[in-house]
Symmetry: C2
Subunit: 362 residues, 2 copies
């Protein structure tokens, strides 16, 4: 293959099999992420359509419906739970605060609807296990958009093909200025342990390097160490405004990760192997360009995939993948069992920080 041939394939969908079809989605919760990222991404998708919007606020649901021509019904949570407009959607996208994923997923499963559930899957490992049990009869995908990111998939292929030998160490980070992102809402749910679960940062941002490392290595965590603290008043109820943690994987690889809700909007993923290095930088930030760097024997190859500040770009890949799988009744890779491993890892990271011990992931 020539370099030009390779470059042409960089954004190819290696998973797409469905020829045509439309998966009609109910968007559950209409926070800024759903309105500014998810709905536009569905609008750009090939196989999805937003036909129902669901919110705690009837006014918000009506307003979003008015802005979204494909929407057939605007529901409150109660109306959704009562089964209104149940024939207007095939699947749900659950983007509520973590601790509300379970009831909405239960409702969707009772109606036989496929579920795309945001990550982390729930607030705690126990609630996530209940969610998996409750949804065993319907397709469940957990929304690890990194796993359908074309450059992340290319990184995984390069690793599997031995491009840098055997992996030895991973570095990953994810950070943002949470209070800027949610400005005007200092009491937002990520700072409320009742809604967020174990904490504000590792569960919300640290899960990006954790899950993406698992995905590109094709390995699972076996033990963790962690340090974390909160410094600013807004983070007084959560232990992890800032965090650093290590993970040992079952193939012997280590990951060294950081996450912060009070740092520049940034993310990277580096894998050091016996023969070279792979680096995605930036990564995890859906709307920025990203470069994949391969370095072997002192030679460096940079692949810029051409993505340019397209809002929701990563989300479009994710929604189309979900639709492809549901429309074909095909297995979904980032499923509930896969996501439970991250819930165990999160539980272990927070326990490690609290106890000061190295904690097994089990």
């Amino acid at each position: 293959m020539t370099a030009a041939d390779y470059l042409r394939t960089v954004r190819d969908r290696d998973w797409e099999r469905v020829d045509s079809g439309t998966l009609r989605l109910a968007m559950i919760s209409l926070g800024w992420w759903t309105r500014e990222r998810a709905i536009p991404a569905v609008g750009d998708s090939t196989f999805c359509e937003t036909t129902v919007v669901v919110s705690g606020s009837r006014e918000k649901a009506t307003a979003v419906a008015a802005e979204t021509p494909t929407v057939e019904a605007a529901l409150t949570y109660e109306e959704f739970a009562a089964g209104e407009a149940v024939d207007e959607y095939d699947a749900v996208y659950v983007c509520t605060p973590n601790a509300l994923h379970l009831p909405h997923a239960e409702t969707a499963a009772e109606r036989g609807k496929a579920i795309l559930c945001e990550k982390p899957m729930e607030a705690t490992r126990e609630r996530a296990e209940r969610l998996v049990d409750a949804t065993e009869d319907v397709p469940l995908m957990v929304a690890y958009r990194m796993q359908t990111d074309p450059q992340v998939r290319r990184m995984r292929e390069l690793l599997a093909g031995g491009a840098i030998g055997d992996p030895v160490a991973v570095h990953g980070s994810m950070s943002q200025q949470l209070l800027d992102v949610v400005s005007g809402d200092p009491d937002q749910w990520r700072l409320d342990p009742e809604l967020a679960g174990y904490g504000a940062t590792v569960a919300d941002l640290g899960i990006y390097p954790i899950n993406t490392a698992r995905f590109v290595l094709d390995a699972d965590p076996v033990s963790v160490t962690a340090q974390m603290h909160s410094a600013d008043e807004a983070f007084r109820d959560v232990p992890d405004q800032h965090a650093a943690f290590t993970i040992r994987f079952d193939d012997g690889t280590y990951a060294a990760c950081t996450a912060s809700q009070h740092a520049a909007y940034a993310g990277h993923l580096r894998v050091i192997g016996t023969d070279g290095e792979l680096l995605l930088d930036p990564v995890f930030l859906g709307e920025t360009p990203q470069t994949l760097r391969l370095r072997v024997d002192g030679r460096t190859l940079d692949v810029d995939d051409g993505r340019r500040n397209i809002l929701g770009d990563e989300m479009t890949e994710e929604f189309d993948y979900f639709a492809d799988r549901v429309l074909r009744d095909a297995p979904i890779h980032p499923d509930g069992e896969h996501a439970l491993v991250d819930m165990r890892a999160l539980e272990a990271v927070y326990a490690a920080a609290e106890t000061g011990d190295t904690v097994p992931v089990e």
Copy 2:
């Protein structure tokens, strides 16, 4: 300042004050590092000269002397200890296995000679403390060549000037294929705890990100966590063929680090701040080019300092800095007290891995 003005200053020595002079060095131990890196670097330096070579092997000392025109005397360790050729050198460069630094430093101090001692300062914290005590009447520098690397110094200046706001997290790694580096010598001292000290990898390679993070942040470690293991037979006597560790610094910054003696030759240092990121990649590898990247508000500035595979380049900076300080009788920054903090950090990292606890650095 224009960008062109900035670029012109990137490799400037911000420390050089001496106008002229020559510091005559005795090179203690003639392993590959001294022969292939240190002596050539001194040859390229402005203010240093190799005038004495000292080895356990008279043949090796004689052979190196024959290849090095400035050398006045070739000594065995016994002859050095006995004070032979004591008027032929002003200072010593101690590059023996870690556990032999102390006796040579004691000898040098007794003769009133300045000391440039390789890192880690000794095999254990206790022996390092004895070394500092024994050398209190002579200049002592610990050979953190990263601290005189021009790009590392520019990174420190940028951080101190607030280029990325307040630092929040650091990522650092250092790795090599030890058995390739020392091919033909599987019993080399880094794999012998009696000579190496706590271990083979964090003490030898992990010390690069530890110390460089301290230097660029101007902060010291307060607690650590660690995971490490050895997989290959050659590493059976040391705990850390591969390692990952976290450090909390006294300014609240976290570092997430990895080190491996069985991975590609690679090193990087990333600092994530409240307003942006700084990345040196590669770094710590003296003979490779390195790029300093500054990313703020989605804009990226890359500075390639023009270094091109010049053997010993970083070492030349280090030797000239040492000479500048000794010839002027000026304070040396990476001194024994500074290096003791790293010995405490190393002791803590190995204790953290062994006990599974978060360990204070004290």
